[in-house]
Subunit: 346 residues, 2 copies
DNA sequence: ATACGCTACTAAAGCGTTTTAGAAAGCATG
DNA sequence: CATGCTTTCTAAAACGCTTTAGTAGCGTAT
C-alpha cells in the first residue's frame, strides 16, 4: 500500500553494495563486475520493486526520455494514425510521448514553448503544409539542441530540420493515371487549396498524368477547394456542369462531400462518374460506395518521424529527409466510362 | 544560439538576490516582498530567458505536472476527441499530457507501468467498457497515490476510482423514442456486443423506450453486432428480412455498414427505412444521407476526466463519478414510416 | 623489494530546484 | 536600554540519481 517508494540507496543497502554499483548494474555500463554482485543487486531491485526516478535521472543526464508531438488541425483525418505511429515508435525505444495540439500558428508556437520548457529530447511536428508557414520557432528549437522533425510541412531545402514528406505529386499522378487507364479522357479535379503545398503537388501530379497521356488540360475541369466536406460538395455540384466522366478529388473529406453532391444530382457512381480520393483511406472506405483512394501512409509517417528524431539525437549534424510513397487502393467508385452521352439533371 | 541555459542561480546573481528569493518570486508564495526586488528578479528572468528546469523541480516537489492518458482501441472513432479534450484541459491547467495507446489488456497494463515509472501525477484511462475488464492494476496505481480516472469503463460501484460514464441507457431511449415519435412501431435494433456495458445499456434504453410506448418487444428485431462496419452490414442484411420500418444501430461504424447493406438491398433511407446511429457524430454526419445520431460528448469526457484527476490530487479521499448526457442530432436518415407495405427485394 | 596493472568496487560531487529555519534591520513597547 | 514584533530576505539541506576519480586487494614483471 503506502510503503515508501524504493530508492537507489535503499536498493544499495539491501544488496550490501554502494549506490554506484547499483547504478552500474542497472545501466549495464561497467562490464567488469562479479556475477554474484550483479545478481544480489538485481534481487534487491526485484524484491523492493524499485523503479528509477526519472526526474533525478534527467537532472543529471539532461535527457528526459520523452519526445514531444505537436499536431496541427486536430480535425484532420490524419490525426489518429500519425499519433498512433509516433506513440508506437516511442514506446519501442523506451521513450514517452508528450502530446500537444495546435489549432493555429500561434498555438503551435506555444506548444513548442511548452515542449522546450518540459525539455523533451526531440520534437515531432505534424503540419498542414502551408506555403507561408513560419518555421523560425522550429529552427530556434533545433539550434538550441532539440532535434525537430517536421511531418508534411513545407520547408525550404536548406532548412535545418529532418523531415518526412509524402509524395503528393506522384500520388496525384497515380490517381489520375488510374482514371486514364480505365479509358477516361474528360477527367476533372477538385484540388486542395493553392496555399498548401499538398494541394499544389497533387494538382501537379494530376496535370502531369494528363500531359503524359496526351490529354489537353481544360481549366474549367479544375475547381479549387479547401479540403472541407462543404467545399467538396459545392465544387462537385459546380464541376458536374462540365460533364467530366471522372474526377480526382484531392482530399478525403472533400470526396465525401462530392459523393453527397452526386447523390443529390442523381449521378450514379461509378456508372456515370468515376471518383478517386486522396488521404486517409479509413475515412472513405466505409462510404457507400467505398471510395477508391490514394493512401497516405500516415502511421508510417509518425513512426519514421520519431525514428528520425532519435537518430538526430545521436548525430545532430546529419539532417535526413524521407519521402514516403503513396499507393492506390481500388474500391468501388472507379470504372470505365460509359459510351455515349452523360446523364443527370445537372 | 548555444548560450548556456539560464539557471535559477544565474538569475539570482543577475538580480543580486538569493536563489530562495528568485524561487519565491516565481512561485508567488511569500507575499511580503519588496516590489522593487520582485521587479529586479522578473527583469533578470526576462533578460536571461530563464525557464525553470522541470526535472529539478519534480525531484523536490515529487510532482511532474504531467498527466498520463491511456487510450484503448486506437481505431475507435472516439479516439481523437477524447485525446483532444484531455489535452486541452491539461494545457489549460499547465499540465503536460503523456500519451500511451493500448490494444489489449496486456498493453494497457504495460502502459500503466510506463506511467508509474514516469511518475505522472494522475492517470486517465479510456476503455472499451468490457464487462469482465481487469481493474487491479488501476486500483494498485490509485492505492499507490496516483489518482486514476476511468472513462467509459465498466466499474463496480465501490471501485476506488473517479470515473466518467456516458448515459448509454438514456441515449438508447432517446434514439428509440425519436423513432417512436415519428410514428414507427416496428423498430429494429442492431446492438453492441453483449460483453460490453455500452452495448447492454444502449439495448436496455431501446427496450425501455418500446415498453414506455406500449410496443411489444420482438426478439427477431434485435441483432447483436460487435461495433464493426462488417457486422453492421451483415446484420442489416439479416434484419431487413423482418421488415422493420426503422432501426436503431448502436454504433457509428455499424451504422455505416447498415447504410451499405441498405444500398445493396435497394432500400431507400429514410423513405423505406429510418436509421439512428450512436457514437461520434463526426463519423456519420458525412455519410450520404447524413445519419441521425445520438451524440456522445466525447471531447467533454476527455476534459472532465482530467478535471476529475486534478481534483482528486487535491482531495484524494473524494472519489467522483460523472455521468454525461447524450443528445440527439437529427439529420437525414429519419422520417415518418410510409403507409402501406414495405418495399425492396430483400 | 618495488613498481605496475588489473579487477571490482566505492566516495563524493554535482545536477537545479524547493523549502525550512532563521537572520538582519527597523521600529514600537515597557 | 533590553525586548519583542514585523518585514524582507538568505543559507543550506534535501530530493535521487549519474559519473568521475580513485582505492583496496592481489597477482605479476622488473
Amino acid at each position: 500500500m503506502s510503503e515508501q517508494q524504493a530508492t537507489m540507496r535503499s536498493v544499495a543497502v539491501a544488496a550490501g553494495v554502494s549506490m554506484s554499483t547499483v547504478s552500474n548494474v542497472l545501466s549495464g555500463r561497467h562490464e567488469q563486475m562479479a556475477v554474484e554482485t550483479r545478481e544480489r543487486v538485481l534481487a534487491a531491485v526485484a524484491s523492493l520493486d524499485y523503479q528509477p526516478n526519472h526526474a533525478a535521472r534527467s537532472l543529471v543526464t539532461k535527457r528526459t526520455a520523452t519526445i514531444g508531438l505537436i499536431m496541427s488541425e486536430v480535425t484532420n483525418s490524419l490525426y489518429p494514425p500519425v499519433t498512433v505511429g509516433a506513440e508506437a515508435a516511442c514506446r519501442r525505444s523506451g521513450y514517452g510521448l508528450l502530446l500537444a495540439n495546435a489549432d493555429d500558428a500561434d498555438s503551435e508556437r506555444r506548444g513548442v514553448d511548452l515542449m522546450r520548457a518540459k525539455r523533451v529530447d526531440a520534437l515531432v511536428v505534424f503540419a498542414v503544409s502551408l506555403l507561408d508557414a513560419d518555421n523560425q520557432h522550429l529552427y530556434a528549437a533545433q539550434a538550441a539542441g532539440m532535434p525537430v522533425v517536421a511531418i508534411n510541412r513545407h520547408l525550404p531545402v536548406d532548412a535545418p530540420l529532418s523531415a518526412v514528406w509524402f509524395d503528393h505529386t506522384s500520388g496525384g499522378r497515380i490517381a489520375t493515371q488510374h482514371l486514364v487507364d480505365l479509358g477516361h479522357r474528360r477527367i476533372g479535379h477538385i484540388a486542395g487549396p493553392a496555399n498548401r503545398m499538398t494541394g499544389v503537388h497533387r494538382r501537379q501530379g494530376y496535370e502531369a498524368a494528363l500531359t503524359a497521356a496526351g490529354i489537353p488540360r481544360h481549366p474549367t475541369l479544375v475547381a479549387v477547394g479547401d479540403y472541407s466536406f462543404a467545399s467538396g460538395e459545392r465544387l462537385m455540384l459546380q464541376l458536374w456542369r462540365e460533364r467530366p466522366t471522372a474526377v480526382f478529388v484531392a482530399g478525403d473529406a472533400m470526396a465525401l462531400g462530392a459523393l453527397r453532391a452526386l447523390s443529390r444530382l442523381g449521378v450514379r457512381v461509378p456508372d456515370d462518374l468515376s471518383l478517386v480520393a486522396f488521404g486517409n483511406p479509413d475515412l472513405v472506405r466505409y462510404a457507400t460506395p467505398a471510395i477508391t483512394t490514394v493512401d497516405l501512409p500516415v502511421a508510417m509517417a509518425g513512426r519514421v518521424a520519431v525514428e528520425l528524431a532519435l537518430r538526430r539525437m545521436q548525430r545532430p549534424e546529419e539532417k535526413e529527409v524521407r519521402l514516403l510513397d503513396t499507393s492506390l487502393l481500388i474500391r468501388e467508385t472507379t470504372a470505365p466510362p460509359r459510351r455515349g452521352k452523360g446523364i443527370g439533371r445537372g
